[in-house]
């Protein structure tokens, strides 16, 4: 498979020849950014717990987490509603961002994102089918069907994209992704209306993490953890793939296997995230580029940084969703699209070669 792409993101042409195995990275800056990101994430999760219909003091949040008292109503609100919501935001953000980072590195396509390439719409479609035909399906199975859906979306987009004579260009893939998403979203909406499974069509557009329960977090956590560890293990190989197939093969990578493993990780991450939050796009597009800007081109740093930044973006967007127009919740996907679209346009313009 060959992808006629420009060089990924910040990569400068001379890097390629000069260092075959050793790419530009900045371990010191990266560590600082990573630690700073984690600190910001902890703060924003705390903020996320304290902001809402009832404003809660941070001291109370601290109390509730470390010294839980069953009888206090505030503690219950924190423990049952706010805390899982904030954690879900963080987890989902990390999933989307890492999935995007892997896809961008693996396919050398700066416009790769699980939302743009049909994975999210595929998951949403299969979830709609599940809600319609097996309404009592436990979340554990739901999440697995969601993986299948992501695979369906990705398969359709890549299959159709590669039918064309000139092969897979980023733009062709993106356009195929848009059309496949439009089709699958339309089908999901039809199903949702017919079977009354969705009172509010907006879920398919936008989504949100409100109403996440502990049980869902417990089920999704092992999948996410496994996928993240897998991503870190693969990160070196992904760096090599991002330099091009020839380079990767020359350095002893079995690119077929790496691709397959990376793709499975991407499907698990995107599928899990969609089953919690709905089809939210652009996180996986924007975050890896920002991460790359800070930490260089080594995916051993890009992947953890993307995870932290993705979490941060999602938690902040979720806070935003609550304060834009209280007491109504603004769909989180719409807020992120407002940031993501200009970024997308900037990326698609910057590309040197004819896209």
């Amino acid at each position: 498979m060959s992808f006629h792409t420009g060089v990924a993101a910040n990569e400068e042409p001379h890097d390629k020849g000069k260092y075959a195995g050793k790419v530009r990275s900045r371990p010191f800056v990266a560590s600082v950014v990573l630690l700073g990101g984690i600190a910001a994430l902890v703060l924003s999760i705390a903020a996320s717990i304290s902001v809402g219909a009832a404003d809660i003091q941070l001291a109370t949040v601290w109390e509730a987490v470390f010294n839980f008292n069953q009888d206090l109503r505030l503690h219950q609100v924190i423990w049952e509603l706010r805390f899982p919501r904030a954690l879900a935001g963080a987890m989902v953000g990390a999933c989307f961002a890492v999935a995007g980072a892997i896809m961008q590195g693996m396919t050398r396509n700066p416009l790769a994102d699980s939302g743009l390439l049909g994975l999210n719409a595929g998951s949403g479609f299969v979830l709609a089918l599940c809600f319609a035909f097996f309404p009592d399906l436990p979340f554990l199975y739901l999440i697995q069907y969601s993986f299948l859906g992501a695979a369906l979306g990705a398969g359709l987009v890549y299959g159709i994209g590669s039918l064309a004579k000139n092969g897979l260009t980023p733009v062709r893939l993106t356009l195929a992704g848009v059309a496949v998403s439009a089709l699958l979203t339309a089908l999901s909406q039809g199903i949702a209306i017919y079977y009354h499974v969705s009172q509010d069509l907006a879920f398919w557009y936008a989504g949100g993490v409100a109403g996440t329960k502990w049980i869902q977090l417990k089920i999704m956590f092992p999948w996410v953890a496994a996928a993240m560890i897998g991503a870190l293990i693969l990160s070196r190989s992904i760096t090599l793939l991002s330099l091009g197939d020839e380079v990767a093969t020359g350095l002893g990578q079995r690119i077929g296997w790496v691709r397959a493993a990376a793709m499975i990780i991407v499907l698990v991450l995107a599928g899990t995230a969609v089953s919690i939050v709905g089809a939210v796009g652009f996180v996986g597009l924007v975050i890896p580029h920002i991460a790359r800007y800070f930490v260089g081109l080594d995916y051993r740093w890009i992947i953890p940084t993307s995870a932290v930044f993705g979490s941060l973006l999602m938690v902040l967007a979720d806070i935003g969703a609550r304060i834009v127009h209280p007491p109504y919740e603004t769909p989180i996907g719409a807020l992120i699209a407002l940031i993501g679209v200009p970024f997308f346009l900037y990326l698609s313009r910057r590309e040197r070669r004819e896209l």
Binding site: I160, G161, L163, A164, K165, N166, V171, R172, T174, L175, A176, V178, A179, V180, A182, L183, T185, A186, L187, Q189, G190, I193, Y194, D200, L201, A202, Y205, A206, G281, V324, H325, Y328, T330, P331, G333, A334, L335, A337, L338, G340, V341, P342, F344, L345, S348, R349, E354, L355
Partner: protein, 344 residues
């Protein structure tokens, strides 16, 4: 080439064109009749005829004249407008993937519709006539935005980048619509989601009245310019060489196309892909000359939308699904097919 031979080929083209047009007029009439019988409350063909000649029950009259007929008329008009608009866009940009929905024109109009609905109520009569103007402004602005984003000084306008910018602008404006309505008036939130999936919402005679003058004004202008479109389609240099004022004509036609799409979408909802499929099928059936291509695009667009709307009411009885969903289910695979076939 002998003149006689040329004449007979020209004649055959004309006969073919006229045949195709008549077939689609017939198809629309048949679909119109089927559509009148379809819906939550069934009316038999006999009932419809009796009601039309004025001897039906009062209830049948209300169903037919106040609910069903305006909706059918609107869907045909919207389809016609979008078909012609897409045809102009494809010819001007020489880009087979152009469509007012894909290029962000619909979204711009939609944003204006949402603002309009937030400030006036949806059933006030006078402002509705004003709606197409607003939609035109919104559609024009977003078309200009997409054009600017896709244009590069050294490379000009690449077809794929045009489509890509359109897709992105559409996503951005849709998100803005959702956030904005929640901020302005949460009651209208439902309306926005319904507009976005493309339900024909303006199904009464006021909306027909708001839309009709635009079509009556713009369609003759566009048909009158069919020859100019033929020339423009040959490329800028040849067109200039043949003595066409390229910039002026192009701007006029572009404005007409944006106005058609904007006013149609204002009453029809965010329906995509009609402007893509209509002209493509038309080109296959009648060839590239706009003399027949334009009316054929119009009629095929109208037929597609009335068929989709009838299907939307019939397929999941007694529920009704938004027409835009039916159109997307047909249109998206067609877009993918064109994408797989395209060279660039």
């Amino acid at each position: 080439m002998e003149p006689l031979h040329f004449n007979s080929r020209e004649q055959r083209r004309k006969i073919r064109g006229i045949t195709v047009l008549s077939v689609f007029v017939l198809l629309i009439i048949i679909m119109f009749a089927i559509s009148m019988n379809t819906g939550y409350i069934r009316l038999s063909p006999l009932d419809v005829i009796r009601t039309l000649v004025g001897v039906g029950t009062e209830r049948q009259e209300v169903i037919l004249f106040d609910f069903r007929l305006p909706r059918i008329v609107i869907s045909v008009l919207v389809g016609v407008g979008l078909g012609v608009s897409g045809c102009i866009l494809q010819s001007l940009s020489r880009n087979g993937l152009a469509d007012p929905g894909i290029l962000g024109i619909n979204a711009g109009a939609g944003l204006m519709v949402v603002l309009f609905v937030a400030f006036f109520s949806t059933n006030a009569k006078a402002p509705v006539l004003f709606l197409p103007f607003l939609a035109l402004v919104g559609a024009g602005l977003s078309a200009a935005l997409v054009y600017t984003l896709a244009y590069k000084r050294n490379e000009g306008l690449s077809p794929t980048r045009l489509v890509l910018s359109g897709v992105a602008v559409t996503a951005g404006i849709s998100a803005a619509m959702i956030v904005l309505t929640l901020k302005l008036d949460p009651q209208n939130y439902q309306f926005v989601t319904v507009w976005l999936v493309g339900r024909i919402w303006g199904a009464n005679w006021t909306f027909v009245l708001a839309l009709l003058p635009w079509l009556l004004l713009l369609l003759p202008y566009v048909f009158y310019k069919a020859k100019v479109l033929d020339v423009l389609n040959l490329g800028e240099q040849i067109a200039t060489g043949l003595g066409t004022a390229v910039e002026k004509e192009r701007l006029g036609l572009l404005v007409a196309s944006v106005a058609l799409a904007g006013s149609c979408v204002a009453v029809g909802g965010g329906i995509g892909f009609v402007g893509l499929i209509g002209p493509h099928l038309a080109r296959r059936l009648v060839g590239p000359q706009h003399e027949f291509l334009l009316p054929a695009s119009a009629l095929i667009g109208g037929f597609l939308l009335i068929a989709a709307d009838t299907l939307a009411r019939w397929i999941m009885q007694p529920y009704e699904i938004p027409t835009g969903i039916v159109v997307a289910v047909i249109g998206a695979p067609y877009f993918l097919y064109l994408l797989a076939k395209s060279q660039t």
